[in-house]
Symmetry: C2
């Protein structure tokens, strides 16, 4: 059974990630969130705050994937160039949106909305705003592109707004076994089990703390529950037969 | 003064990052390490364990950047396909390397080197091995491409081996001021300071914990120390003049 897959790509726009100043947390959060929506995150690109790079990366991604998410670069300062780059990528102009000005005025009643504030209320023509319950300045959606803030707390609030609005193609189920043997020992039987269940993806993820604490987490993923259960059962049978120590689930 | 910039790209090969199972830590570590080598990390791509995707991403990156680093997919199991993909990207065959077999034998004296072990001792023709002090199985270098393990501890050990082997183009200096004012207030003067010091990159990174704890970290980066110091001084002068609270350096 082939289900038309819904796919996604995340474009992380941020010199601060590439300079090492900030550890990105948005990819991992979005990946888990997309799992729950039944959408497969297929790729992520971390790029500089450079307009031409944003435009070419975005234009390639929005043709390739069902959904594209971006994080970063929608604030008020000179290095926040995402919104303008998105407008150029779509070939549209920017326009001031009064409803966004009102949101900012409501959030900051004692401030005059200055030029930088105006910038955060200016969007590509045709943009649908994505509410920001943390600091008011909205993200936005253009066709299949979702433009979000880079601050994790705000990005997460924006994803909350999108809950239920993204069409998925069925939840991917995942089961894991953690085996306390070296990855190599398991390699051949695992390859055979993978061949037997071609509609699953079996991942083998070694961990190594020291000579006494190492092993491999085996993860089976599929939209078909029966295949996941059967493949996990085959893995456990092999481990039992070879007297390998293991436990159900991920290593904690 | 234009210095020919040494640039880098990181390709993170790993379904486990894209599924959200694992939080990537290698990008941040590599970014900081490259800073110390005087190399600018320009982009990073997180891609699936799919051979054609690895090949096209790698072949594009190795023509574009001075150095390309990859993490993940060099273990013994069926989902470890990086080495073979790199060989195909370079148009070379794979070959067994006896010195790698010896390394594995020395690390695991009680094991017969089986087919999966052989796989970890098999490299693209022409590869230079990168020692792995943690679990023996080496990474490797092909021209300007450095192929490393995905497990952070092993990846870090491999980078340690590369210390001093990567030619840089001068260390990028970085100074920061943390201002406890909203990003918008600082936007215009910051834009002017950026214009005055075109050989610096001034980043403005807002943080927002709650209505009483928010602000903006301002980071000036350049290979020219005098410009960094002057730009930071101008930022502080503006903050003083506007009676804004701030402190030197990053927010802790």
């Amino acid at each position: 059974m082939v289900i038309s897959e819904k796919t996604a790509c995340l474009i992380i726009i941020g010199d601060e990630i590439l300079s090492g100043r900030v550890q990105d947390l948005n990819l991992n959060y979005l990946a888990k969130w997309l799992n729950q929506q039944g959408v497969d995150l297929k790729a992520s690109h971390v790029i500089q705050d450079v307009e031409d790079v944003i435009i070419s990366t975005l234009n390639s991604a929005r043709k390739t994937y069902s959904y594209v998410f971006t994080t970063g670069g929608i604030g008020p300062t000179h290095d926040d160039i995402t919104s303008k780059a998105v407008a150029r990528a779509f070939g549209v102009k920017m326009e001031l949106r009064e409803e966004a000005v009102d949101l900012l005025k409501a959030q900051y009643p004692n401030h005059k909305i200055s030029k930088p504030g105006i910038k955060m209320a200016t969007f590509p023509v045709g943009a649908e705003m994505i509410a920001n319950s943390v600091s008011a300045a909205p993200g936005f959606k253009m066709e299949n592109v979702y433009v979000m803030a880079g601050i994790p707390k705000i990005m997460q609030a924006m994803l909350g707004v999108l809950e239920g609005q993204i069409e998925g193609s069925g939840i991917v189920l995942s089961k894991a076994v953690t085996a306390y043997i070296s990855e190599g020992k398991m390699a051949l039987p695992l390859e055979n089990i993978q061949k037997e269940y071609p509609n699953t993806t079996i991942g083998s993820y070694p961990f190594f703390n020291n000579q006494d604490d190492f092993g491999t987490t085996l993860v089976v993923r599929s939209r078909d529950e029966i295949s996941v259960t059967s493949a996990i059962q085959d893995i456990k049978s092999w481990l039992d037969k070879n007297e390998a120590r293991y436990k159900e689930g991920e290593r904690k």
